[in-house]
């Protein structure tokens, strides 16, 4: 839709369900995927809670949108940066997060993890390497 290719970073720092930001951020990512930009997602601070597995919203009556993260690979959104320090401070490890994978078309469609565990310092580098930073 456009000839410019920009680096877009979606920054997720808030927990899901208490507020709508996580859910409406995902809606932007899905629509944005059609624009063929260079898209990354950052999960830090309470944003890492968005990716936990086993979310079950039946009793609170809100829509469970956590499965959508697993569909991101189908939209060619394959770079989900997760901050290690944020996980550790919250007592979480990668095992507590969903498996989010994509098929690497450059590698015989091998299934690879979209989650890239990085340090806080590396997260700062990712942030500094963007054209557009959208925060939710």
């Amino acid at each position: 839709m456009s000839e410019t290719i920009k680096k877009f970073l979606y920054v997720n720092r808030k927990a899901p369900y208490g507020t709508i930001y996580a859910q409406e951020s995902l809606e932007v990512v899905l629509i944005g995927a059609a624009f063929d930009q260079d898209v990354s997602l950052a999960f830090l601070d309470d944003g890492v809670f968005q990716l936990t597995k086993g979310q079950d919203t039946k009793e609170i009556g809100l829509k469970n949108f956590s499965a959508t993260y697993r569909a991101l690979g189908d939209y060619e959104v394959t770079k989900l940066y997760v901050e290690k320090e944020s996980l550790e401070e919250r007592g979480l490890t990668l095992d507590d997060l969903q498996n989010i994978e994509y098929e690497d078309e450059d590698d015989d469609y091998a299934e690879k993890s979209s989650i890239r565990l990085i340090s806080r310092a590396e997260m700062a580098e990712v942030m500094a390497d963007q054209d557009v930073v959208l925060s939710f």
């Binding site: 208490g18 507020t19 709508i20 609170i60 009556g61 809100l62 829509k63």
Partner: protein, 130 residues
């Protein structure tokens, strides 16, 4: 026991109105009385009849209207907060020269005195907000 409930945040943006709804349902199910639900701050936006959430999501306003009808709840929207935010009933719209209104069935607009009165009459006052 008589509960009075305050809802301080708008629908969908915060979980507050959902938590309040689940609390009120549970209280009624246990035989308690809910003397009033008072919508304040952005909470007034719960009472718009113009919302159209996605079909696979809950319809927050309709949930309240239905619960209110079933249990004869007094769902009060604060007039001062509502005017700031553009939530009107037919009378207010006419009085203020606005060409439309948007309040949903089962809600009524009234003054902040209703919040104080609720606090006086209820055995417990509980606020859901941000």
């Amino acid at each position: 026991m008589k509960f009075g409930i305050v809802v301080s945040e708008g629908p969908y943006q915060h979980q507050a109105s959902d938590s309040a709804y689940n609390f009120v349902k549970a209280a009624l199910a246990k035989g308690h009385e809910v003397s009033r639900v008072f919508f304040y701050h952005d909470g007034v936006n719960v009472g718009t009849r113009l919302s159209i959430p996605p079909q696979d999501d809950r319809q927050i306003q309709e949930q309240w209207t239905a619960l209110g009808k079933e249990h004869d709840l007094d769902l009060v929207i604060c007039i001062a907060a509502a005017q700031r935010r553009g939530l009107l009933d037919e009378n207010e719209a006419k009085r203020q020269g606005k060409d439309a209104d948007n309040i949903a069935e089962g809600f009524r607009i009234s003054g902040l005195g209703q919040l104080i009165e609720m606090g006086i009459q209820a055995d417990r006052t509980i606020t859901f907000g941000d």
